[in-house]
Symmetry: C2
DNA sequence: CGTTAATTTCTGTTTTTACTGAAATAACTG
DNA sequence: CAGTTATTTCAGTAAAAACAGAAATTAACG
């Protein structure tokens, strides 16, 4: 597979984006490529198109699979794995968020939880410090609770909420300006 | 300033968190320290407490100032700068999000915008590719629009929305289950 | 069951990013 | 304005992450 000028620019930019948001450049590039591709690609094709080492492609694909951003599809009469990216943008975003939640957010939540205990039970720690650590935990928990609730809503409702934006606030009693 | 065991653990963990979310470790550590501190600290004190080079502290503080996560306070009879972190968690979160938006998100938005133009006007690029790049842009724009609307709401309303979570969906006509 | 193709693991290299410490500059003080 | 003290810049070093290529493993096929 050969990329046109703009396609190439997109892939490169996506890779750059990745690095700034804590995603490996190769991983992001491969994801972008599969997102644009009009047919399932083999690891070999990816290697050639992006000029990155075969081993690197292999590992990056595994990573993308674990994020559930790509899937393998079998092609009849070909024993090699073929890869496709999920194409629904909303779903993509959801899975990225969910991935980061599992890998970074939840572990931090539990670390902070024990840390709050430690701080409260340690007389060398000021009440203020303990409280601030606790507040951090609370805020993150609140955000997580909110996320978990939103996740239960059907996608249609999610996009409605997104589209309506701040107008929603007007529906809630007691939050008006007056 | 000396840190208790749990305080130290918090600072270290916060630094680790930072690296995973694209924030420099020293920057995050210093932020955590100032967040816990019960009084404004000088650069010198930070250097001693965290054992990181003076120059590093200086640059990190400048970084934190540019994110508006810390402020300088003058102490009478002392010509050195003293630093304090903002303590309201919600406000902290807001400023971090706003910072990343300005630095990463908006630039990407404009890059993608020109990229969509390029792709549409380039006959070597398939319609599908161009559409997918465009969809990516649209989704990111939608998210940004939503964010901008939310930002206009008074903090009280913001937390209400956060607390009510999915219950909000029930208020919106046409998004019910049936 | 041996051969070939495909994939993965592993070790060493390269690249990038973070950090230090010295030197330069700037800001204040008597 | 000479002497200090505080801050910043900068060049070099160290640490971390990403990556390549060879070697090893696994899976398919006749």
């Amino acid at each position: 597979m050969t990329l046109s000028e703009p396609e190439q620019a997109f892939v490169l930019h996506w890779g750059e984006m990745g690095t700034r948001w804590g995603v490996n450049r190769s991983v992001a590039q491969i994801h972008a490529l599969l997102y644009l591709a009009d047919k399932p690609l083999t690891a070999e094709e990816i290697t050639e198109t992006l000029s990155i080492a075969r081993s690197n492609v292999s590992n990056s694909l595994k990573e993308l699979l674990s994020w559930r951003l790509i899937e393998t599809t079998s092609v009849l009469g070909d024993r090699r794995d073929h890869f496709t990216a999920i194409t629904d943008g909303m779903e993509m975003a959801t899975r990225i968020v969910e991935g980061r939640r599992q890998r970074e957010f939840l572990p931090t939540l539990s670390t902070l939880a024990t840390l709050v205990e430690d701080a409260r039970g340690d007389e060398a720690t000021s009440k203020q410090s303990a409280d601030r650590i606790a507040e951090t935990l609370n805020l993150m928990r609140q955000a997580d609770d909110w996320y978990r609730e939103m996740r239960t809503l059907p996608p249609r409702v999610q996009s409605t909420l997104l589209m309506m934006g701040a107008k929603i606030a007007k529906l809630i009693p007691g939050t008006g300006k007056s």
